[in-house]
């Protein structure tokens, strides 16, 4: 029993890290620029499919990840220039523009790759055995990459001039502009980074699971849950929120019916929102 629980905890943490990388993108765009990008899952889908296509054409996987991030970021740049920058501080409009974008991206990927799920060849076969628990090596690599990326983002924003500029911008855009922060450039940078991150998340996802055009919708919901759980605006909170969500879902489905897997995370989310609306790691 302990083996089973421990196995689910580890597995949940790894899946949770995937939620965490989307949550980081949501937290960054919303916390800094006040834009809700609910279509982040679609940039993840783009990253995943680009990686798949390039890797199946013979490009080595680690190399294929780079264009995946770049293409996702480019798509993010374009959608920011065309749509998202008009929805600043308007949650409902941001949500609706995202729904429109989800519709466009999803059908475009159905035209390009069809609705049939596709699967990539194994990148890194084999598993590490810790006691009685087997952990696939690739999952560990994915987990490590995500943790490194999130921690690096945290330090980049906590210790540098860029981070101070970003927080200033989040608090008061006009004042930040007067203090010499190039705000349009900052906004573009945040959008590029968050969509690029989603692309990276997608590229990592492609190495583990099968892909289908509708995958983005599910993940963005989980990412949103994780971001709220950790507290919107808190960078490390997004990682912890994702991991906690993944572990709750994993452990919950041992003791309770698996069919209600998604509900366990939601129930905890509701409880947290009721008693601590700013999330676990958010400011009061």
């Amino acid at each position: 029993m302990t083996q089973l629980v421990l196995g689910q905890v580890l597995n949940g943490a790894i899946i949770g890290a995937m939620y965490g990388i989307i949550a980081l993108g949501i937290t960054l765009t919303f916390g800094i620029t006040g834009i809700v990008n609910f279509a982040l899952g679609e940039f993840m889908m783009i990253g995943a499919y680009v990686t798949y296509t390039l890797a199946e054409r013979g490009m080595p996987y680690p190399v294929a990840v780079v264009p995946a991030c770049l293409i996702a970021a480019a798509a993010g740049y374009l959608s920011n220039k065309a749509f998202f920058r008009f929805t600043r501080n308007n949650l409902v409009n941001g949500l609706l523009v995202s729904i429109g974008l989800i519709s466009i991206f999803e059908s475009a990927s159905m035209l390009l790759w069809t609705a049939t799920p596709v699967e990539m060849h194994f990148v890194l076969p084999g598993a590490l055995r810790v006691g009685d628990i087997g952990l696939p090596k690739m999952k560990l690599v994915v987990f490590a990459v995500i943790v490194v990326v999130i921690v690096a983002t945290y330090f980049a924003l906590a210790r540098t001039w860029l981070g101070r500029a970003a927080f200033a911008y989040a608090q008061n855009p006009e004042a930040a502009m007067l203090m010499g922060v190039h705000t349009p450039r900052l906004e573009t940078a945040v959008m590029l980074y968050s969509t690029g991150l989603a692309g990276l998340g997608g590229a990592l996802y492609a190495s583990l699971y099968s892909l289908e055009p509708a995958m983005g919708g599910v993940y963005v919901l989980k990412g949103m849950e994780a971001a709220i759980l950790g507290g919107i605006g808190s960078l490390m909170g997004s990682l912890w929120g994702g991991v906690i969500l993944g572990v709750i879902e994993g452990v919950g489905s041992i003791f309770l019916p698996t069919a209600f897997r998604d509900a366990y995370g939601l129930a905890v989310l509701v409880a947290i929102l009721l008693f601590r609306p700013s999330g676990l790691f958010g400011d009061e």
């Binding site: 749509f83 008009f86 929805t87 949650l91 409902v92 409009n93 949500l95 609706l96 523009v97 729904i99 429109g100 974008l101 989800i102 519709s103 466009i104 999803e106 059908s107 475009a108 159905m110 035209l111 919708g217 919901l221 949103m224 709220i228 019916p257 069919a259 209600f260 998604d262 509900a263 939601l266 129930a267 989310l269 509701v270 929102l273 009721l274 609306p277």
Partner: protein
């Protein structure tokens, strides 16, 4: 006001001129979604609470109406009443939790969405009652008492057209009546400034709950009608996409108006059928139109028309 009366008159006279089943079907779907849109607008556009709970009410009432009709041999109309009661109970429970804890805007949306998802999971996995993801086939028909020929079932596009149109008219009338009363004033006050409304002595909790319960109770009829009209119910009725679609209809038509959601529903149900394209291209076009409307006409079609008219009048 005369313009609106004329519009309703035209809708009632339409089947006399138009005989095409294709067009009538589009209108029937428009009316059913219109009920959903108008009731959603009561909660969102008039009271300012972005609820994501509407599809749950819609789906639960569709299932309940059908199941009551099957297991207790109730006629359609008798089955809609317990469904509406269930919708009210659900709304009161979820609403009390959310409003007691003073969840607003985004957080209210997320928590109602979470509740709706949990209900969807229950419906999807309660196989013995709901038949899971496979859904249920609805073979019954609503009946109506018609002078001269007794109780007749509703069959054919024209009968359905009038049934759904009457239901939509009643929904709009009830909503308009509520909004013109003291309730409507309180809803408006809460939408504009909740804290100010509280200091003016309005029981904010009670009126938000009232708006949520009325909207949900009326929306439950849309669920029953939709299930019976399409003859098929599945857990997709409760999905998030349904929520998004209703929101899109209300925003496209114009939030804070009673006619807007119906116009939005007509555009979004009619458009995919009017343009003969591949499903994928159609979905892309739908997304593009949605984005375009939100960015160019934030007040929606009806809101823009109103603004244009008052500018010309001034």
């Amino acid at each position: 006001m005369t313009g609106q009366a004329l519009l309703w008159g035209l809708l009632y006279a339409l089947p006399l001129v138009v005989r095409s089943d294709f067009l009538l079907t589009i209108f029937i779907f428009t009316f059913i979604y219109g009920i959903l849109g108008v009731t959603f607008d009561l909660i969102f556009g008039f009271t300012g609470q972005l609820s994501m709970f509407h599809p749950a009410v819609f789906g639960v009432s569709a299932y309940m109406t059908h199941l009551l009709a099957i297991h207790f041999k109730l006629p359609f109309w008798a089955a809609t009443l317990p469904s509406a009661a269930a919708a009210i109970v659900l709304a009161l429970v979820v609403g009390s939790v959310c409003f007691k804890f003073r969840l607003k805007t985004f957080y209210f949306a997320v928590v109602t969405l979470a509740f709706a998802e949990m209900i969807r999971l229950v419906v999807m996995n309660w196989n013995s009652v709901t038949n899971g993801t496979l859904g249920l086939v609805v073979s019954g028909k609503p009946t109506i008492y018609w002078p001269g020929s007794g109780v007749v079932p509703i069959k054919g596009p024209i009968a359905w057209y009038y049934l759904t149109l009457v239901c939509l008219s009643l929904t709009v009338l009830i909503c308009a009546r509520c909004l013109r009363s003291w309730m409507g004033r309180c809803f408006g006050a809460i939408r504009l400034n909740e804290d100010l409304a509280r200091t003016l002595g309005i029981n904010v909790f009670r009126y938000k709950l009232l708006s949520f319960a009325i909207g949900s109770a009326l929306a439950s009829f849309a669920g029953g009608l939709y299930g019976y009209y399409t003859g098929y119910i599945d857990p997709g009725y409760l999905s998030i996409n349904q929520s998004m679609e209703v929101l899109a209809m209300v925003l496209l038509g114009g939030q804070g108006t009673l006619i807007g959601p119906i116009v939005g529903s007509l555009v979004l149900t009619g458009l995919p059928h009017a343009i003969d394209l591949r499903a994928e291209v159609r979905a892309m076009l739908y997304g593009a139109i949605l984005i375009f409307t939100i960015l160019v006409m934030p007040r929606g079609i009806v809101g823009t028309l109103y603004a244009w008219r008052s500018k010309r009048g001034a």
